[in-house]
Amino acid sequence: MSLNTLLSSIIDGLLIGSVYGIAAMGLTLIWGVMHVINLSHGPVMALGMFGVYLLFTGLGLNPYLALLLVALLGLLLGILIYFIAIQRVIDAPHLSTLLATFSVNMIIIGLGTSIFSTSPRDTGFTLGRIVIGGITIQNTRLVAAVITLLVTGGLYLFLYRTRPGKYVRAVANNRAAAELMGIFSSRVLALSFGIGTMLASIAGGLIATFFSFTILSGSTYELKSFIIGVLGGLGNPLGALLGGVILGLMEGIFPLFMTNTWVPVIEFVFFVLILLIRPSGLLGGKS
């Protein structure tokens, strides 16, 4: 194996991992604010993929412009899901919120398969590639990684520099105390859930610019988000980005040393072990 192959794999892993990272960031934000594991995260990612695909192939919109629209729709969808499925059971035992979000998963997947079928789609979008000293990088992946950094920065500015962002952190910290300070917690929770699904739809949209997908693809990425979320510590958005990069690197480098199909085995065993040994995540975060 040449050094170039290794370097290409590392760079690819970094770029794709950052996209995994923002999907996981959405999951971990929702967990951090309201202690809900969102089992509809994967289908929302799949909707993001289809959103970009349809706007690009149907209306000829630039995928990155389409992504803006998809992000907005993702935000609104999340707020809708919150008010319909979650608000009523937010204080109920975990089983209720898990099943409520799973029922949303079933509804989206059911509608999706009956409308789009499960045949694979591909946007066929390309920005060419750059070659530096024998290392090839797909430009779509490079742009995707830049966008994830912008989104992460935006999320941090929102959480730490704006009033609604401070409300979100206050509610995450202690909902009862936040309510006593006059914060309408249900609006803040709905907004947080919306931001979580927005991140999922952005990640889905970005994945659609370089991978082919089906309506069921979301579940694979949802499982990756779980792994990443646990790796970075559930409730820790920056940890999710780092976790995503670590997972991306694993997926980039491991196939060079072993059969491709063994990689998920290692990932899931790793996931179980982290949960058992350090449930608060390798990189810290709220437990």
Binding site: L98, I115, T261, F268
Partner: protein, 328 residues
């Protein structure tokens, strides 16, 4: 002895017998196949109920026991020429052993962390078996037609698996009832309500939980062997289908978690509804109903979670206190 006289137990057993006896009386193979899937669902739901309903631990990976048990049993039948009953026992034993080994470690995790780790274990097992050569890796194991010979051919073997699955569901209901009435069950329900308080009151939580987990794992392990023996093949994606686990949770919720009758009613209702939706030919806005049976099931689940979290049996018990004497 007195505790075995509870009318709720007899009512549950009577319902189960009515469901399972029709195919035997009519010798109708199509009806037998339909009933087989209902009984399959009953065993999955009722065994899951021991850890989910009685103990309050949400397992999303219940299917791992079904899958691994099924694989072990089919492997023994195929490679070592074991008879079916021995394979079934081996499946149950394997699943129980897996639960025992995992139990001590993972039952320390609570709430959503436990749910996540059970998903992880199932996926780890699925991807591992997909690479494991002795189990045929991703193509799985295909049973040779000759394994059905000792049972009088494939047609007779199907009847045999049916009788065995009926027996398994009877055992399951008895087990579920025994757990609920025993000191173990009391301990488990105390853990469900408040684990820390239960420990202070002298419930040895780790041992109780592990025992409940092992008990809930054995029957799905045996069930897997029966299903895949009947099926003739076993593949990783069928054996460790996460969706099947979640369907089992839906059944338990539908009927009523933490009751003996609930999972049975829930499994029956869910499978009937599924069958109905899959075979209906209505159209709404140009889309056939059978294409979005998942949507209807999802809406139904959401309505139950939001408005009737106790499930049908739990709701009846709350609404009509007299029914508590006959429903359990």
């Amino acid at each position: 002895m007195k505790k075995w006289l509870h009318p709720g137990l007899w009512l549950t057993l009577a319902i189960l017998l009515v469901i399972s006896i029709w195919p035997i009386l009519t010798r109708d193979a199509a009806l037998r196949e339909r009933t087989f899937t209902i009984l399959l669902a009953i065993v999955m739901a009722s065994s899951l109920n021991i850890i989910l309903g009685y103990t309050g631990y949400v397992s999303f990976g219940h299917v791992v026991f079904y899958g691994l048990g099924g694989y072990m049993g089919v492997y023994a039948i195929d490679k070592w020429g074991w008879p079916l009953p021995a394979g079934v026992l081996l499946g149950g034993l394997t699943a129980g052993l897996l639960a025992f080994l995992l139990g001590r470690a993972i039952l320390r995790l609570r709430g959503a962390y436990f749910a996540l780790v059970t998903i992880g274990i199932n996926e780890a097992m699925r991807t591992f078996v997909s690479n494991f050569q002795p189990f045929g890796a991703s193509t799985g194991i295909e049973l040779h037609f000759s394994v059905y010979k000792p049972y009088g051919g494939a047609a007779e073997a199907l009847w045999l698996t049916y009788y065995l699955v009926v027996a398994l569901s009877l055992i399951n209901i008895l087990l579920s009832y025994w757990v609920r009435q025993s000191k173990l069950g009391l301990g488990l329900m105390a853990i469900r309500e408040d684990e820390d308080a239960a420990e202070v009151m002298g419930v040895v939580a780790p041992q109780y939980k592990t025992l409940a987990y092992v008990l809930s794992a054995i029957l799905p392990g045996m069930l897997g062997v029966l299903f895949f023996f009947k099926n003739g093949t076993v593949e990783p994606k069928d054996a460790f289908r996460l969706h099947f686990s979640i369907e089992a949770i839906v059944m338990v919720m539908l009927g009523g978690q933490g009751t003996v009758l609930g999972p049975l009613v829930g499994a029956w209702g869910y499978q009937r509804l599924r069958g109905l939706l899959l075979t209906t030919n209505w159209k709404i806005a140009g889309l056939a109903i059978k294409d979005f049976q998942l949507v209807i099931a999802g809406i139904l689940l959401l309505l139950i979670v939001l408005f009737v979290p106790a499930g049908l049996v739990g709701w009846l018990q709350q609404k009509f206190s007299k029914l508590r004497r006959v429903l359990i």
